[in-house]
């Protein structure tokens, strides 16, 4: 069979469908930020950024940035009605204290027990961790959005992470370019897959056994 994997925008769209109205959400820097664009009609999530803002909106028009008003990625932001500022200790109290509903991050590798590796790939160069190790603890749901495989085709969903860990047993759901996979009881449990990819093909691109505990739904995403 031939299949077309989801684009990053489509993966972000799928992840956005699981964010409920009124949820407090942290989106990791980069690709996860795209999730904010796809909030379903009639739902309003409140976005948190680690440097001390709740309730930020889109980027301002070029030329109207105020560089004291930025997100954790150091990009200029705007505020929505109901926004608030706070210092860094309060910001991470929100993170570790279980007050965030969802954190969505990128990944280099996710292990079947929920271990996440997303902050460095080896011991060379200048290490930088930021808030990643904090964010994986505390949010009620820690989800990953990622291509199903690396650029050179290696599985990102693996038995055991080989890259340095960001957190142990922290991820509960993975949205990939091919599937939606939950992590339950130390196993990958397949929830949705593209209708055009066979189970065998999907398993071949996955570094650990994909389990099922019921029907697997079609991963159906609009053209974006």
């Amino acid at each position: 069979m031939t299949y077309t994997k989801l684009t990053n925008a489509q993966i972000a769209w799928r992840a956005a469908q699981d964010i409920e109205d009124g949820a407090y959400v942290n989106l990791g820097i980069g690709f996860p930020e795209m999730v904010a664009k796809f909030q379903p009609e009639g739902r309003e999530a409140v976005f948190h950024t680690e440097n001390g803002v709740l309730g930020f909106g889109q980027a301002p028009a070029e030329g109207s940035e105020d560089w004291d008003l930025i997100n954790a990625g150091k990009k200029a932001i705007t505020l929505k009605p109901g926004a608030s500022f706070f210092h860094h200790a309060d910001s991470f109290a929100m993170v570790r204290g279980g007050h965030l509903d969802v954190a969505i991050l990128g990944a280099y590798q996710i292990a079947q027990n929920g271990d996440l590796a997303n902050w460095r790939v080896g011991s060379k160069g200048v290490p930088a961790v930021g808030g990643a190790m904090d964010l994986v603890h505390g949010a009620k749901r820690v989800a990953v959005i990622t291509d199903h495989v690396t650029k050179d085709g290696k599985p990102k969903l693996v038995e055991t992470c080989t890259f340095p860990l960001t957190g142990v047993g922290c991820v509960t759901r993975v949205y990939t370019s091919l599937a939606v996979v939950d992590i339950e009881g130390g196993k990958f449990v397949l929830r949705e897959k593209l209708s055009d990819i066979s189970m065998d093909e999907l398993q071949a691109l996955t570094g650990a056994t994909l389990h099922t505990d019921g029907p697997v739904a079609d991963l159906s995403v609009p053209e974006l």
Binding site: K74, F85, F92, V126
Partner: protein, 239 residues
Amino acid sequence: MDKSISTLTESVADIHDGAVLMIGGFGGSGSPIELIHTLIDRFRETGSPKDVTVINNNAGNGFVGIAAMIKAGMVKKMICSFPRSSNAEAFNEKFLADEIELELVPQGTLAERIRAAGAGIPAFYTPTSFGTELAIGKPTEEFDGKHYVQERWLKADFAIVKGQLGDKHGNLTYRLAGRNFNPLMCMAADVTIAQVSDLVEAGGIDPEQVITPGIFVDHVVEVKSPQQEEILVRTGAVH
């Protein structure tokens, strides 16, 4: 009671060789750029303060602020969470040449270590970094079935921060997301020096609007219309 100081030069005059120095701000937001540059100017003229340990979320950007401190050769060690930026050349060069030490701390742990120092709490447990290379050598403990890492307070000799309004009692407000680490650092240093855009008399700030109470602040210096680090970086400024 009057904590105001009339010049930037006087305000940082006591910062000595080997000082542990907290610098407020997150990237360019809330960065006390005039205080930093005054300190660099003193180093260039007198060779002091040298061998400074700097605590900040980042390790500078471009050729101003902390990056310029590093480039000038006055920083011995950085304690930060994310020494990467759009142009981290100053830090990268020194780090890869083994000319600067790095203590890498997860961002929330960095904030809480600073807060703990200000609150008189020598150590605490956090789930952050458990099972990772950043927890190696640290005590761990299990509470209610979950694993936690012991982290210690982080103190400093001096903190330099940027406020919006400041009064002569040292009460401070901040501008937008420029708050970030500034209020925590005020609490955690032996001596805190704040630059503010507007210095007012006691009573000039509504007590309900005070973010940092003056008890945490030692000196206030007014810098009208301060420069913004991000704009300096984007325009290629060099200090």
